[in-house]
Symmetry: C2
Subunit: 248 residues, 2 copies
């Protein structure tokens, strides 16, 4: 039995999220089906760094699994990519120690959210969130900085998300940049210990309200304190969100 760590990317558009749900098309299902074929039809379980919601993309998602068969890392990468659909791609395969765990050992994750406030481009509709209003990005950047640090982020998670025993997370770094060539393309990044379900998309929705002048940057402090979903802004759609990196 050898444990492997894989780095992979996917287009979230065509999937019902990451996690296996019987007959629905999910990323976990496609990976496990491909690996089971490679593993002489012995079932393989894939453990990812965490789930991504329906429609969310990944540039460098990570997962581990165990295989009985003897195969080199390079051959396994090739076998995986030839058995996977075109919207998932395995970039790297590495043998790891038996005690490596893709979820428990995560030190940090980096997410990126893309917003276009310029002219709508139908070719990017599944990859960038289109927002047809002017935004004060200077105010948004100031608000963003109030999200940094260790906080209870309950206000940014759905009110029905009651299966968390701890809403405290640490956001160690954030950036907001406008594209050099196309200033209407806004890129917001978050580096943190971990993120609650919908947390990034709700932080983005709240930042957009700041950008529109509906909230002040300093309101973020109060929103965090309230620990109440109703205090934060709307939840942005998944198409602008990318899991960019997972660090161990």
């Amino acid at each position: 039995m050898v444990r492997y760590l894989i780095t992979f990317s996917y287009d979230g558009y065509g999937f019902n999220g990451f996690q296996r749900q019987d007959d629905k098309r999910t990323i976990q299902k496609e990976l496990e089906d491909a690996l089971t074929k490679i593993n002489n039809n012995e079932k393989v379980e894939v453990v990812a760094s965490g789930r991504t919601d329906k429609g969310v993309h990944a540039l460098n998602q990570k997962a581990h699994f165990d295989l009985d068969i003897k195969i080199t890392e390079e051959k396994l990468k090739m076998a995986l990519n030839s058995n996977l659909p075109k919207d998932i791609y395995v970039k790297e395969v590495t043998k790891v120690n038996d005690d490596f765990h893709a979820r428990y050992m995560v030190e940090a994750k980096e997410y990126v959210y893309l917003i276009n406030i310029g002219e709508y481009n139908p070719l990017e509709r599944n990859y960038i969130y289109q927002y047809n209003k002017k935004l004060d990005v200077v105010a948004m950047e100031r608000a963003l900085k109030y999200l940094e640090g260790e906080h209870n982020f309950k206000s940014f998670s759905p009110s029905d998300n009651t299966n968390e025993d701890n809403y405290v997370r640490t956001i160690s770094q954030t950036t907001l940049t406008r594209d050099f060539k196309n200033p209407n393309l806004i890129t917001i990044t978050f580096l943190g210990s971990g993120f609650l379900r919908h947390m990034i998309r709700t932080m983005i929705g709240t930042l957009i309200q700041v950008g529109e002048g509906k909230k002040n940057p300093e309101d973020i402090i109060e929103i965090i304190k309230k620990e109440d979903r109703k205090a934060a802004g709307f939840t942005c759609p998944p198409e602008g969100l990318y899991l960019k990196n997972v660090f161990y």
Copy 2:
């Protein structure tokens, strides 16, 4: 009756090409259906600068049509976009003279073809042609220059394309560039009086054979002379091709 010229973009992936084909989803059908609704259910015929094949994208396609109703250009743009599906977008609406014709009056068209020879990215699979081999882009650029000028391009059109009475076209300008940040992304552009069906995709397939060393740049001269489809290279897939501009 007022004649309008529209500039529009579309994601070719979800369409069976441009031209109306009864029940199939085509760009012409979606435009005409939207316009018919706006025109109090009186049928409207859309005349584009030309067709694009199944899967080919457009950044600035142009078309004309006539409407009986009174409506401003800005309101018509809004009405069109709210009646069109998300993979077509009207960028501009302009009133034109009654004798303007979107197809007959075309002076030049610009097309772009994108090739990625780096790592496969599942998020770009419908927007860039993935080619998993090294290519000699210097040789490709030399070959490209032999395509410029007025030539009979029969070698680059399908052998069953017998409904053309004239295979002579003029390519006035071409460029081949590698992306500054990502040199594995190759962009090839063609500016010309008009292009035969599959012509650009077959020119690209021929250029790729030059890039692989299977043909010499100078072979292009002979390929053009032969006026025979068998002399040219393969026809590249549509996902890398964009109609970028139409000039009148």
